[in-house]
Every structure is written in structure tokens, then in C-alpha cells.
């Protein structure tokens, strides 16, 4: 019995419970799609109005567009910072600015990612029909919130730099 289990584990790559959970899951998803109706997944008139396109597209856009973009942006930020401090170590600020840039960029980017329909006025007609209003304030509001995030970060950076400066000056005689 034991050797049978080991054999199965080697053959399949995991224990039988793993196989049963996954097969059960696939069967259930098959049922979900069957109840929805396979034909509902695809829109033969406008291909990109298909549910399946948006479902798979969600993975592709996140994994192959959004993630590489923000990872490259962040790595460039780090590389740029290292290049500057490497060449001019004396001119390097006492407090590394990297997180004071990252945080407001992330905040502003997250808000755009989540609320871009209002910001770029997409879905104008349905928005107006639903609410009786226009989307005109959203771009300005997003810009103002972003300005506030960058401004707060700048203030925090200035305060931190001053504090670190004082501490270093206090420490100077002792070191």
C-alpha cells in the first residue's frame, strides 16, 4: 500500500488528495460554464465583447503588461539612484529618496488604475443617464489628490532630512 502511494506520488507528482481536489475543481468549473452556456462566452459580432476574452485578457494584462511595466519602472528608479550616488557620493542626500518617490507614484497610479473611467470620461453617455451628471470633475480631482500625495511626500522627506541632519550634527563630536 505504502509503495503504491509512493509510486503514485512519483508518477503524478503529488499526493492523491491533490489530484482529487483539482479534478473536483475542474468538474465544478465545467458545471459553471455549462450553466452559463458555452455560447455565452463568445460574442460572434464583436470579438472583444466576449466574456472569455476579458477573463483571459485580465490575466494577460496583469501578468504580461502591468507587472512588467511597474517592475521595470521600479528597477529603473533604483538603478538611477545607484548611478547618481555611485558617481557623486558626496552629493548624495543623507536620506534615500526612493521610497518618497515610490509611495506617491504608487498611490496616484493605483487611483488611476481603479478610477480611470471617470478620469478619462469613458462611458460618458451611460454615466449621464444613470446619474444626471457629467464626469468632468474627476480628472481635476485625481490631479489634485496626486498633487497632495506628492506634496505630502515632499514635506515628509524634508522633515526626515532635517531630522537626520540634526542627528548627524549632534553625533559629529562623538564620532
Amino acid at each position: 500500500m505504502r509503495s503504491l502511494m509512493t509510486g503514485l506520488k512519483q508518477l503524478y507528482g503529488a499526493n492523491p488528495l491533490h489530484l482529487l481536489s483539482l479534478l473536483g475543481g475542474f468538474a465544478l468549473v465545467g458545471y459553471v460554464i455549462s450553466i452559463l452556456g458555452l455560447n455565452q462566452l463568445w460574442d460572434s459580432r464583436v470579438w472583444w465583447h466576449s466574456i472569455v476574452v476579458w477573463f483571459v485578457g485580465a490575466i494577460v494584462v496583469h501578468d504580461l503588461v502591468l507587472f512588467p511595466l511597474y517592475a521595470i519602472a521600479d528597477r529603473s528608479l533604483g538603478a538611477g539612484w545607484r548611478a547618481i550616488t555611485g558617481r557623486l557620493p558626496a552629493a548624495a542626500p543623507r536620506v534615500p529618496p526612493i521610497n518618497y518617490i515610490r509611495v506617491p507614484v504608487l498611490g496616484s497610479g493605483l487611483l488611476f488604475l481603479m478610477f480611470f473611467p471617470g478620469i478619462i470620461e469613458q462611458g460618458k453617455r451611460t454615466y449621464h443617464g444613470a446619474t444626471g451628471l457629467t464626469q468632468s470633475p474627476f480628472l481635476d480631482r485625481w490631479l489634485l489628490i496626486s498633487a497632495a500625495l506628492f506634496g505630502l511626500s515632499a514635506v515628509a522627506y524634508a522633515v526626515r532630512s532635517l531630522l537626520v541632519g540634526h542627528r548627524q550634527n549632534d553625533d559629529a563630536p562623538a564620532s
Partner: protein
């Protein structure tokens, strides 16, 4: 406290200690058919990052498990409130969308009218919590990215099936977030029916979620024990060390020096969630908080008059002919021995009742106002129906899914269920349903039919 010895000790173990697959840093053995998996390994396409390309010193099973734990305790609330809202739409009357869901629903029950804020609460929680979790979902996905690009992609059939199952959970969660976000902003660029897609997408996600949790729960518990959250919250950048290498390859094999502490990264994610909470909760709770919902449709002010509150579908978009709402308008009551026709002055001459009730929408926003008009049970009595089992309300607007709604018995006889004629002491505006609209405690907003033409009390 580490229950398992550090992975680096593996190599110093006596050779007779058998290594199970997936135990330690070494890649696990290949399952059947190993020739195929090894062949795939040789054809690494360009653009797939190597193991050494992953340099974050924070990635690792502990951090992934922290995000996983947060989602494990919070997502069931989003799922449950979403499924409850399907019940609130009245599936027993075939007016919940999508219509045919097989076994994919909670047990049907009559949606209660008390507490009056029930739907405001369930739908508000569904939407606000869903929004608040977006940063956590993004962080969780970031933390497991090395696995997506790991090469070889498949080492066994188990591996293949597990990767396929991730399509359900990753596709499911991102699909639900995207469709939900577009819907609450009235952007229907996707072209398909929102309710259908969001409902079935949710079930695909639920299946993926349950499978993933059942496979990964032991790993999560084990990983959470490798570090103490309390210690991490006290560890500054200078003392931040990478996590130990793990069999799943989440921790970088050659990490860069950290630029942010682990607690700092958690604070960034938590701060993002907090910011989203502040910017969205006002849509649901109203009051002064509404002004903070700066980027959402229902944070806007309409003015300070009695009718200046959030409109759901203007009269113009419902194609209401203003002439049909004038003096010639009649309310038709059906279901009794004879049809009863009432003018607006006749309705105003009846006993008036007022109640503070929320309009709460499936998009998560709500607004509580003081409504007054005639009790629905009084109208049933007038029609000659003493114990209605349901009431079918039809609007003046043309054919459409929300131009009519059926109310349950408890929703007809509740003392606060009204055919409202006034709001905040003045006549309803045309956009709010003049000459008369339904307002029922805890009923989804769109079923509070506006511009009512007839009510059929069914027995």
C-alpha cells in the same frame, strides 16, 4: 521559532534521509512523463527571466502568506455578500439576474425588510471591501510572480493541473475586480451583461479559491510560523534580511540590498487600502463622508434642495414622457374584485405615512431620505386584497428589465413600505419618480420602481 530546519541545513543531512519532492531548494524530481518535461525545459523562450533576475529581498513564503491570510479571511465576506445580493433581487420571482444559475446560489429565502439598512449594508460591504482589497490582491500577485515565469513551467502532471487551476483564481479575481470597477462607474465598455459575467465569473473564482486554499493552507500556516509578525513590525530597514530560500522559489536566490523594510512594504499596501477606504466608504454611509468619495460617481453633490440627492437613472434616460406624469396620470390597482383608478390628489387625501429609508444600489452606494406617501398595505386593502402574496409593480417607462418589479408579501405589508408621493416634505422631482414611486425597507434600489403606473396585488 522555525519548525522546519533552515533549508541550507538540507545538504548536511545524512544521505539516507529521503528527500520528498519539493523539499528544499533543489528542483523536485520530474513526474511522468519526465522526458516531455525535460524536453520542454530545453526550449526556454527569450524574455523569460532567469532565477537570478528576481531580486526583491522581501519576496518569500512568509510575505506571500501574510497577503494570502488577509485575503483568506476577507474574500469570503465579499463572496457571501455578493451571493446574498442575488437573493435580495428575488430569484423566487425570476427577477434576479442571471436567471438560470443551476445550483450556484445560496438557498432561496424571502429577503427581510428589517433592518431597513440590510441591503445598504450587504451591498456596501461587498463593494467597499472589494475596492479596499485591490491593493492586497495586487501585492499578493506581485509576491508570487517568480512562479509564473519559473522554467521549466511544468515538472509533473500535478504541476500542470495546479498551474491550470490558477487560471480560475487569478483570472477570476482580476475579472471580478475589473468588471466590478467598470460597473460602479457606469462604464460598460466590455459589451456583455454585467450581472451575468460578474455572477458566473464569481463562481469560477470561488472554485479556484477553494481549490487553492485546500492545496496551500498547510504551506500558508507553515510559512506564517517562520517569522513573527510582531518582530517584523519592529524591524527597521537596516535590520531587514531576505527570507530563506524556499522550494517554491518565491524568495530571490540573489537578492538586492533592501530599499524598504518588510513593515514598510506592509504599510504601503495597508496605506493603499486605507486610502481607497476613505475615498469610497462615503458612497455608502453618506453624511459628511460622502464628500470624501472624490473619485466615485456617488460622492457628488446635487445641491441643497429637498430633491437634491443621488439619482438612479434620470427620467430622460428612462424615456419618461413628462406629459404622462401630469394631471391625466392615474394609478391602477389590480388584483381585487374590480380595478381601482386613483388620481394623485386622491392618493394625497389618503392617510399619509412617512419613513426614513435608504435607497441602496447594487453599485454599493446609498442615500437615506425622508419619504412620505400611502402605505402599500392600505392600497392593497383599497384594492380589496386583504392578504397579498406578492405585488407586481409596473412603471410608466418602456420595456426594460427594471421597468417592473415584483414585491414579496413581507415587502408589501411592512408598515414602512410606501407608494411615496413626497420626499423631504416636497413633491418628488421627475428624476426621483414623480408622480409616485415605491420605497420599501431593505429592497434593492432598482426594485423601488419609479413613475409607478400600476400595482397588481397577487393572491
Amino acid at each position: 521559532m522555525t519548525p522546519t530546519p533552515p533549508e541550507t541545513d538540507d545538504d548536511s543531512r545524512p544521505p539516507e534521509v529521503q528527500r520528498g519532492p519539493g523539499d528544499g531548494r533543489q528542483p523536485p524530481d520530474y513526474g511522468f512523463p519526465s522526458g516531455l518535461w525535460k524536453a520542454i525545459e530545453k526550449y526556454k523562450p527569450p524574455g523569460i527571466p532567469s532565477d537570478k533576475a528576481w531580486r526583491s529581498p522581501l519576496r518569500g513564503p512568509w510575505l506571500t502568506s501574510v497577503f494570502g491570510f488577509l485575503l483568506l479571511v476577507s474574500l469570503p465576506l465579499v463572496i457571501l455578500t455578493g451571493l446574498l445580493d442575488y437573493i435580495a433581487y428575488g430569484p423566487q420571482f425570476h427577477q434576479a439576474i442571471p436567471g438560470n444559475v443551476g445550483f450556484l446560489h445560496l438557498p432561496f429565502f424571502n429577503w427581510p425588510t428589517r433592518p431597513a439598512w440590510l441591503f445598504q449594508f450587504t451591498e456596501g460591504l461587498h463593494v467597499v471591501l472589494g475596492l479596499v482589497l485591490v491593493p492586497v490582491v495586487l501585492a499578493k500577485l506581485w509576491s508570487v510572480m517568480p512562479k509564473l515565469f519559473a522554467w521549466p513551467p511544468i515538472r509533473s502532471v500535478a504541476n500542470l493541473l495546479e498551474r491550470l487551476s490558477l487560471i480560475m483564481i487569478v483570472g477570476g479575481i482580476v475579472f471580478e475586480i475589473v468588471t466590478g470597477l467598470l460597473n460602479i462607474q457606469y462604464d460598460y465598455i466590455f459589451g456583455f451583461n454585467f450581472y451575468t459575467a460578474h455572477y458566473f465569473g464569481a463562481w469560477v473564482f470561488i472554485v479556484g479559491f477553494v481549490v487553492h486554499v485546500s492545496l496551500k493552507f498547510p504551506t500558508m500556516v507553515r510559512s506564517l510560523r517562520t517569522r513573527s509578525l510582531r518582530t517584523e513590525l519592529r524591524t527597521p530597514l537596516a535590520r531587514t534580511r531576505p527570507e530563506a530560500p524556499d522550494p517554491d522559489g518565491l524568495a530571490a536566490s540573489s537578492p538586492s540590498p533592501p530599499t524598504i523594510s518588510r513593515r514598510g512594504a506592509l504599510a504601503v499596501v495597508g496605506g493603499g487600502s486605507l486610502m481607497i477606504a476613505v475615498l469610497s466608504v462615503g458612497q455608502t454611509v453618506g453624511g459628511a463622508a460622502r464628500n470624501a468619495a472624490l473619485l466615485l460617481p456617488r460622492g457628488r453633490s446635487y445641491g441643497s434642495g429637498p430633491n437634491d440627492f443621488q439619482i438612479n437613472r434620470t427620467a430622460a434616460s428612462a424615456k419618461i414622457d413628462p406629459a404622462a406624469t401630469g394631471a391625466s396620470w392615474r394609478l391602477t390597482l389590480l388584483g381585487g374584485p374590480t380595478q381601482v383608478l386613483l388620481t394623485r390628489p386622491m392618493l394625497l387625501a389618503m392617510e399619509q405615512h412617512s419613513a426614513d429609508l435608504p435607497i441602496a444600489c447594487v453599485e454599493g452606494w446609498s442615500t437615506t431620505q425622508n419619504w412620505s406617501g400611502v402605505r402599500l398595505r392600505d392600497l392593497a386593502h383599497l384594492a380589496g386584497v386583504s392578504a397579498p402574496l406578492s405585488a407586481y409593480v409596473v412603471s410608466l417607462e418602456g420595456p426594460g428589465i427594471f421597468s417592473q418589479a415584483r414585491l414579496q408579501s413581507n415587502q408589501v405589508v411592512d408598515p414602512d413600505s410606501l407608494l411615496a408621493l413626497k420626499v423631504n416634505g416636497v413633491d418628488l422631482s421627475l428624476d426621483h419618480g414623480y408622480p409616485a414611486r415605491i420605497i420599501v425597507p431593505a429592497l434593492p434600489g432598482v426594485h423601488n420602481t419609479k413613475w409607478v403606473r400600476s400595482i397588481d396585488f397577487e393572491t
